[in-house]
C-alpha cells in the first residue's frame, strides 16, 4: 500500500487506512533507534528542510533525528535566524526554498493554515509540524501509536483530554484521530478554554475534570500555555491547578491500568503533579517522545515514495 498524498497537513485529511499505514510503518522503524548504528540508507540524497517559525525543542529535534536516521540531509531554519526578520513574506521564503529543490519541507507556524497555503503553492511535500491552534498531525500520530502499543487497540477506549482545548492543536488533531479510530473522547477544561460547539466533533464535554477522567483508559493532559494568562483566560495558575491538575487523588477515578500522556513541555505542579508525571506505572510521556522519532521517520519515508 502506498500513501497517495503529497502532503501531511492534518489528521482531518487522513483516512483510517492511511493512519493505520503510517502507524504500521512507524512500528517497523522503532527498532532502528535501538541499534548501535542508528542509521539506514533509505533516504540518501533526499533533502528535508525544517522551517520553524515558532519555538520547539521536541518536534524539531525529532524531525531532524528522523531525517538523519534515514540518511536524508536535514536543514533547520528557525524564524529568528532567517530572512523573516528582514521582512520576507512566508510565500517568498517558501518559493526560494522550493528553488533549491528540497524533497520535503516540515513547517511550524503560528498561523493556522500556513502549511496548507504552502502546499498549494509549491510542488514539494509539506508536513505540518503545528499550525496555530489548528493541527499537529505528527503529535497525534505518535500519541495514537503509544496508545496502540500500551492498550493493544484504540477502538473502544475512553480517552480524556484535559486542559486548554481552545488553544491546543494537539487536542484538535487527537480528537480527529481518536474518533476516527473508534475511541470515545471526553474533554474537560475551564469554560474559557473550551471552544464553542466542540461537541460537534463527536465527543463529550465536561466542566469538571473528574467527570471526564472517570473510568478513562487514557488521560491526556495538555500544557497550560503560560503566555495565555495575560489574556485573562484564567485568573491564576494556582486556581487553575486546584481544579485541573492531575494528581494521585483524581487519577484514582480512571481505570486501574489507565495511562497518562502529555505532549510536553510539562508544567510540573500546574497541569500535572510531579509524582504522576514520573510514575513509571502510569506515565508514558517519554514513550511518546520515543515513538515520535519513528512516526516522523514513517512520514518522511512514505512521502518520499516508500510504501508498505
Amino acid at each position: 500500500m502506498k500513501l497517495e498524498k503529497k502532503d501531511i497537513l492534518g489528521i482531518q485529511d487522513l483516512s483510517v487506512g492511511e493512519i493505520n499505514l503510517i502507524l504500521a510503518t512507524a512500528e517497523s522503524f522503532l527498532e532502528i533507534s535501538t541499534r548501535e548504528i542508528k542509521k539506514v540508507p533509505t533516504l540518501r540524497g533526499k533533502t528535508v528542510i525544517n522551517l520553524f517559525f515558532e519555538a520547539s525543542t521536541r518536534t524539531r529535534t525529532s524531525f531532524e533525528i528522523a531525517g538523519k536516521r534515514l540518511s536524508a540531509d536535514t536543514i533547520n531554519i528557525s524564524a529568528s535566524t532567517s530572512s523573516v526578520v528582514k521582512g520576507e513574506t512566508l510565500i517568498d521564503t517558501a518559493r526560494n526554498l522550493e528553488a533549491m529543490n528540497p524533497d520535503v519541507i516540515v513547517i511550524r507556524h503560528s498561523a493556522a493554515g500556513a502549511p496548507r497555503l504552502l502546499a498549494s503553492l509549491i510542488r514539494q511535500s509539506i508536513i505540518n509540524a503545528g499550525d496555530g491552534a489548528h493541527e499537529h498531525p505528527s503529535q497525534a500520530l505518535l500519541d495514537m501509536m503509544t496508545i496502540k502499543e500500551k492498550k493493544g487497540a484504540i477502538a473502544g477506549l475512553k480517552v480524556a483530554i484535559i486542559g486548554d482545548i481552545a488553544h491546543s492543536r494537539v487536542a484538535r488533531s487527537n480528537i480527529y484521530g481518536l474518533t476516527k479510530m473508534g475511541a470515545s473522547v471526553a474533554l474537560a477544561g475551564p469554560a474559557t478554554m473550551m471552544p464553542r460547539d466542540i461537541e460537534q466533533m463527536g465527543i463529550t464535554v465536561h466542566n469538571k475534570m473528574e467527570e471526564a477522567i472517570s473510568n478513562a483508559d487514557v488521560v491526556m493532559m495538555l500544557r497550560i500555555q503560560l503566555e495565555r494568562q495575560k489574556q485573562n483566560i484564567f485568573p491564576s495558575l494556582r486556581e487553575y491547578s486546584q481544579h485541573y491538575c492531575l494528581n494521585r487523588r483524581n487519577i484514582a477515578l480512571a481505570k486501574k491500568d489507565a495511562i497518562v500522556m502529555h505532549p510536553g513541555p510539562i508544567n510540573r505542579g500546574v497541569e500535572i503533579s510531579p509524582d504522576i508525571a514520573d510514575d513509571p506505572d502510569r506515565s508514558v510521556i517519554l514513550d511518546q517522545v520515543n515513538k515520535g522519532v519513528a512516526v516522523r521517520m514513517a512520514l518522511l519515508y512514505l512521502l518520499t515514495g516508500g510504501s508498505q
Binding site: 502506498k2 510503518t25 512500528e27 517497523s28 522503524f29 522503532l30 527498532e31 532502528i32 541499534r35 548501535e36 548504528i37 542509521k39 539506514v40 540508507p41 533509505t42 533516504l43 534515514l70 519515508y301 518520499t304 515514495g305 516508500g306 510504501s307 508498505q308
Partner: protein, 183 residues
C-alpha cells in the same frame, strides 16, 4: 491477472526438506562445526528457511544456534523508482555480529540486489568475521558480482518466468514453482 498462467512444480515438500538437510550438513562442514556461527534470515521467505536450518543444525550438532531476522527494504536501491515494493518489516537481531560467521539465508537468489542490501545492513550491525550465503534456489540473471556458498537447486530460468517458493509457514504448502509468462 485473470489470464491463465501455466506453472510447473520443480520441487515438492520432500525435495525442499532434502535440500535443507544437505545445506545444514554443508554449513557445518565448511565451518567445521557451529562455533561462532549465526543464521540470519532475510524477510520473509528466508526467515522460515533459516528457522528450519536452525532446527536441522541443532539436531545434528546439539546445542543452540542464534537466529536473526533481517528486513532489507530500507537498504534497497530502488525505493523511489520501483512500483512493486515490499512491506518494511521489523529487523530483529538481538545478538552481536562482531566476530561471528554469519550465514545469510534467502529463498531465491536472482539479481543479487537483495543480497547486496542485506550485506550493507549486516555491516551496520557490527563487523562479522565472515558472511556466507545459503539459498534454496539460484535462478541466475545476476546483476552484481555475488554468488551463493550453499545452493539448494540451480534453476536456470528465463526472465519471463517467475520462480516462487511457497512455504507451509506462510502459504500453507511447501513447493517451488515456475510461473511462465509472468510479466
Amino acid at each position: 491477472m485473470g489470464e491463465k498462467k501455466s506453472f510447473k512444480t520443480v520441487m515438492d515438500r520432500d525435495g525442499i526438506d532434502r535440500c535443507l538437510t544437505r545445506i545444514a550438513y554443508e554449513i557445518l562442514e565448511k565451518n567445521k562445526g557451529m562455533d561462532d556461527l549465526v543464521l540470519v534470515g532475510i524477510r520473509t521467505g528466508g526467515v522460515f528457511l533459516a528457522e528450519r536450518l536452525k532446527k536441522k543444525i541443532s539436531g545434528i550438532e546439539g546445542g543452540d544456534i542464534s537466529l536473526g531476522i533481517l528486513d532489507v527494504t530500507l537498504y534497497r536501491d530502488d525505493i523511489s523508482t520501483s512500483y512493486k515494493k515490499q512491506h518494511p518489516g521489523k529487523t530483529d537481531i538481538t545478538f552481536s555480529l562482531d566476530g561471528k560467521k554469519v550465514v545469510l539465508v534467502d529463498d531465491v537468489l536472482f539479481t543479487g540486489r537483495t543480497i547486496r542490501a542485506a550485506m550493507d545492513a549486516l555491516i551496520d550491525f557490527g563487523r562479522p568475521k565472515m558472511i556466507q550465503l545459503a539459498v534454496l534456489i539460484d535462478r541466475g540473471h545476476r546483476e552484481l558480482p555475488i554468488r551463493a556458498d550453499f545452493v539448494g537447486k540451480n534453476l536456470p530460468s528465463s526472465l519471463w518466468e517467475a520462480v516462487t517458493v511457497n512455504l507451509v509457514e506462510k502459504n500453507g504448502i511447501d513447493e517451488v514453482i515456475i510461473v511462465e509468462d509472468a510479466k
